[in-house]
């Protein structure tokens, strides 16, 4: 009896802790500041789209949105491509090279990417890669390669060796086996890893903050930070911006919930 009450109370409290702030943000996007302060959880008196209009007119949301999409898609796509090739090679390698490469990438798991901000910044200034989306994409690829290779190598190693050997005997080269056998077989792992990487790239603040200062190159998290400075405590505008910035993730989460959870937990466990 006590256990049941204890369990249900705790579960209800945490569910409320997640759902209440989410509702405040969604409802708040349709309210003005005064209504948010006085009745944060009530339904809006009028479902006004004024905040969205203001955001579009003044806030320049399209550019950062577009930049975030470009950076995330290219970072994830290229990382998955390169990481899957490397993982395939490492998993199939029978020589010491594969082991050595794997260890080398494992170093990247031990050193948090955040500690390299100074050398990366300096290098990028020299290469004229600051204020460049390509620069951001390159950083994202470098930072996420180790974890991706870790996850994908484990997956490739679970595939049967005999199958690959049979294909090799039939005369298929490495590239052919990778493309027509290994890649299709590891589609679930690629999807999960891809989502994991997408969340990282979409949400990252540190590297864009350091590398991007021009307005038309900013990504969404960076624009949100600017908004906080601009609108200070105008939470109606801030909530609207948060809602717009989160919508792609929320839609992906609701439609591909299994892959999402698989990806974000594989990333944690393997990392």
């Amino acid at each position: 009896m006590f256990y049941k009450v204890f369990k249900n109370t705790l579960l209800t409290l945490f569910a409320a802790a997640v759902l209440i702030p989410s509702s405040i943000v969604i409802l708040g996007s349709f309210k003005d500041d005064l209504e948010i302060y006085t009745k944060p959880l009530a339904l809006p008196k009028h479902w006004s789209l004024k905040n969205f209009h203001t955001l579009i007119e003044t806030g320049n949301v399209f550019t950062p949105f577009k930049n975030s999409v470009i950076v995330a898609i290219f970072s994830v796509g290229i990382t998955l491509f390169f990481a899957s090739m490397a993982s395939y090679m490492i998993a199939r390698s029978t020589t010491v090279t594969g082991k050595f490469l794997f260890l080398l990438f494992a170093i990247g798991l031990a050193i948090p990417g955040q500690v390299n901000i100074i050398p990366i910044y300096h290098l990028f200034v020299q290469l004229h890669l600051t204020n460049s989306l390509i620069g951001l994409i390159l950083v994202n690829i470098a930072l996420t390669l180790p974890i991706s290779i870790f996850i994908l190598t484990a997956f490739f190693k679970d595939l049967s060796r005999e199958m690959f050997e049979a294909a090799a005997i039939d005369g298929a080269g490495h590239w052919r086996i990778y493309r027509s056998l290994a890649l299709p077989l590891c589609r679930p792992a690629l999807a999960a890893t891809g989502i994991f990487l997408f969340v990282i790239c979409w949400n990252d603040l540190l590297y864009p903050l350091m590398l991007i200062s021009e307005l038309d190159k900013k990504t969404l998290p960076l624009t949100l930070i600017d908004f906080r400075g601009e609108y200070a405590t105008s939470y109606s505008m801030l909530f609207t911006a948060v809602l717009v910035a989160s919508i792609p993730m929320v839609i992906m989460y609701l439609t591909m919930q299994r892959t999402f959870v698989a990806g974000l937990t594989a990333g944690a466990v393997k990392g």
């Binding site: 997640v18 944060p40 910035a245």
Partner: protein, 279 residues
């Protein structure tokens, strides 16, 4: 076939990591030529820099609180939500939801919840007669307030990891314990806890690293303030480099961060191995 990955990784990960070590022995403002100063940056950090020591302490406290609370909460929730019933699955989806948001979004949302004048938390406290606090603006509470947000942010992710781990435990163990009349607490203590130790190790290691990487959330909530009361290592390194222009010194700070993370990971692995009897 590993070449493209290797090339990018070597050029943009390994090489910067090595230059970081090199920079840490220099006095350098990022513009003029670096000057070699030997171990000076490190001796200064260890003996003269009160701010660094404070921030190191902050980060350890933050990490400790988040690891303890997040891990225990996640384990508790995972035992509640272990069975794949409709309610359990729905609750796991709800709990996991914050994980997909960006730290900046989470920071902005919690800025509102913590707002001393209009905030939701103080409004609730006032309605039951407790005076509100200036959560993020008071040096005594800011660190704990951010820790609470971090726990809110990532507990759901850890619940899912625990559920996967706990579902591996053979059901017969619980059935046998039930027959012997073991209470729920005894079952938890003697079956769940020891059997979940490998998962706990993963969760603790991941959370530890995550808390020592903390930047986005701190930057968007307090920027380390007030008076550095919520400053963490990465926010300090960022400011040392980009506000104070002491680049060599910031590199030395980040080398210390690498050592802290490596040391903690190593110690945790050792403790876990002792506990599970693995070699």
């Amino acid at each position: 076939m590993a070449f493209p990955a290797f090339a990018i990784y070597a050029f943009l990960y390994l090489y910067p990591s090595l230059s970081n070590v090199y920079y840490s022995f220099q006095r350098w403002d990022g513009v003029t030529k670096p000057e070699f100063v030997g171990l000076h940056n490190f001796t200064y950090l260890a003996t003269n820099d009160d701010l660094f020591m404070k921030v190191l302490g902050n980060n350890f406290r933050f990490s400790f609180i988040v690891v303890i609370f997040q891990t225990l909460l996640a384990l508790l929730f995972a035992t509640f939500l272990l069975k794949n019933t409709k309610t359990s699955i729905a609750l796991r989806i709800v709990f996991f939801f914050p994980t997909i948001l960006s730290s900046v979004s989470v920071g902005l949302i919690w800025n509102f919840l913590y707002d001393p004048n209009f905030g939701f938390i103080n409004a609730i406290l006032k309605s039951v007669g407790i005076p509100g606090l200036n959560w993020l603006g008071d040096t005594r509470y800011s660190l704990y307030a951010i820790a609470l947000t971090q726990v809110w942010f990532h507990t759901g992710q850890m619940v899912v990891i625990y559920v996967a781990g706990l579902q591996q435990i053979p059901q017969e163990l619980y059935e046998a314990a039930e027959v012997d009349g073991a209470s729920r607490w005894q079952q938890f203590k003697n079956i769940t806890w020891p059997m979940a130790l490998p998962t706990t190790a993963v969760v603790v290691a991941y959370t530890t690293i995550q808390t020592f990487r903390a930047f986005d959330l701190v930057y968007s909530m307090t920027q380390g303030g007030p008076l550095n009361s919520s400053d963490m290592l990465v926010t300090l390194i960022y400011n040392t480099a980009f506000s104070s222009y002491k680049w060599g010194y910031a590199s030395a700070q980040s080398i210390i961060l690498v050592f802290v993370v490596l040391l903690l990971t190593y110690l945790q692995r050792r403790t876990l191995r002792l506990n599970t009897g693995e070699k």
